[in-house]
Amino acid sequence: MSKLILSRRSLIRTGALGGGLLLSGCDKLYQQPGFRSVLESGENLHRATQRALGGQALAREFRVSDMSPNFRANGSKEGAGDEYRRHLAQGFAQWALRVDGMVGRPLNLPLTALQSLPQRKQITRHDCVEGWSAIGQWQGPQLSHVLDLARVSPAAKYLIFHCADIYGGKPYYESIDMVDAFHPQTILAWQMNGRPLPQEHGAPLRLRVERQLGYKHAKFVTRIEARDTLAGVYGGKGGYWEDNGGYAWYAGI
């Protein structure tokens, strides 16, 4: 019997040792840039397949009765800087959204101008990269309207969303391509659940890009810049988490 226990103990020890070797092996393998880039290229496969199969399909919309009783706020819960705090105190009366870069007509759009454009109201599910979901109602002009007003250049490939929040000491930003920019459900939401966007959800304006994960839905948006490349903007990978956390730029999965 003692022999059996001994062999069982050594079996467990061998298993733990083997598992440990396997683990450190996987971690080491992952540190090889070549191996890592092969795994990361899965992102291109995801984007290509989802776009090919999905086209301009709409994200599912829900009824009022389907909504989360309490919508979790995540990431930055407040904007940063004196300028933001002044706008917040003034109820964003003097605030304006800047639209520039590769556009024929750069714009400064006050909140009232965004509110007087044709509005889209949608109840959608917000899926966080962490795994949780919340359903809420969003309202604002379609981004395509704003882009048409600004006469965005056909050569523009990306929109950069500059934000007023600082996360982990660095300014937050995000980017999408023109497929998502002109998607009917891509809106600049100034209203959430029937009320002006609260600060923790990105007052006064946040992006809704419904077929992607939460970190793409930039909050506290102050400026939209049209560009033909992501290179040269902050870390060059097209977003705060893409630059600093290794998240995929395409977040449809």
């Binding site: 450190s24 990361e40 999905g54 994200a59 795994g131 999965i253």
Partner: protein, 294 residues
């Protein structure tokens, strides 16, 4: 157990098997396609399980329905109560300090996360890296399964070896196989060429139920897929239900793995492992008649 109890249709090894094998002969048991898929799938499942546990660590709470976040009721939760690790399922809760919720990492640092480092990929917390591993190997799992199923349909593997006959579905037949398994009386001679009904049920449920469910519930969590194929998410009654089923099926696969390994050990590990690497398998010798009649 009588050896030639079933009908005479034979398994994969039939081409190479001699006439009326009685045991002791070395036969070809697993085709190349089966062997390749087995190991690709084993690797993919290991990577997917461990990277999946890393992803789970980002939000170790499970819900039913379409939405679910911190304010909502979680049916399963791994976390902390003060300085104790805990697992809660419904109203049942146990202290898991050292194993789940609170554990010590490879550097001796106490971590307050759900799944410990030795079970996750990467071993240090990184949701981003866990996702990169997981989403890349999801393709390996899905494409290799699709390829294997199509090829096995073409070469007759599914029809000959996995298809469960009407005779085998009879409760009495299943019960007899269960009794044989419980007594560890494994088939010998020619009967060992074929899968018995419990093996068929296990393999069929992996191929046609658990693995496809993993893939479909995985896709159901993707906001992109939910737009072009909403039925995938609706089928499960919501994204959070799909996430819960994804988690449960993963443990179903772990359960299969444990039984699978136990059976390999009991049935003779050398012979079994050789057969899934080289394809060669020595048929177990028939038992003495006295034993067989017992």
């Amino acid at each position: 157990m009588a050896t030639m109890r079933h009908d005479e249709r034979q398994g994969e090894a039939s081409e190479a098997a001699p006439q009326a094998p009685r045991g002791g002969e070395v036969v070809r048991r697993h085709r190349l396609s089966t062997r390749i898929w087995h190991w690709v799938n084993a690797l993919a499942l290991l990577v997917l399980l461990m990277s999946g546990l890393m992803i789970f660590n980002a939000h170790p709470r499970l819900y039913w329905g379409e939405f679910g976040a911190n304010f909502d009721y979680a049916w399963l939760e791994i976390g902390q109560r003060g300085n104790a690790g805990m697992l809660r399922i419904g109203t049942w809760q146990i202290d898991t300090t050292g194993w789940l919720g609170i554990w010590t990492d490879q550097d001796g640092v106490v971590r307050r996360r759900a799944i410990p480092y030795w079970a996750t990929l990467p071993s240090r917390y990184s949701l981003a890296d866990g996702r990169i591993w997981h989403l890349a190997f999801a393709w390996v799992l899905a494409l290799s399964l699709l390829g294997y199923l199509l090829w096995s349909l073409v070469n007759g593997h599914l029809r000959r070896d996995v298809h469960i006959t009407r005779e085998e579905w009879r409760p009495a037949h299943i019960w007899r196989d269960m009794k044989d398994h419980a007594r560890l009386r494994f088939p010998t001679g020619a009967a060992a060429l074929r899968y018995n009904v419990l093996q068929k049920l296990a393999y069929a449920s992996i191929l046609f139920v658990l693995l496809p469910l993993m893939i479909v519930t995985g896709l159901a969590m993707s906001p992109g897929t939910d737009a072009w194929a909403p039925i995938v998410t609706e089928l499960f009654g919501g994204r959070q239900t799909a996430r819960s089923i994804h988690f449960l099926c993963a443990w179903g696969l772990v359960g299969f793995f444990v039984i699978h390994i136990a059976m390999v050990v009991l049935a003779g590990p050398f012979n079994e492992i050789r057969s899934i690497i080289t394809g060669k398998y020595r048929l177990p010798r028939e038992r003495l008649s006295k034993e067989r009649d017992a």
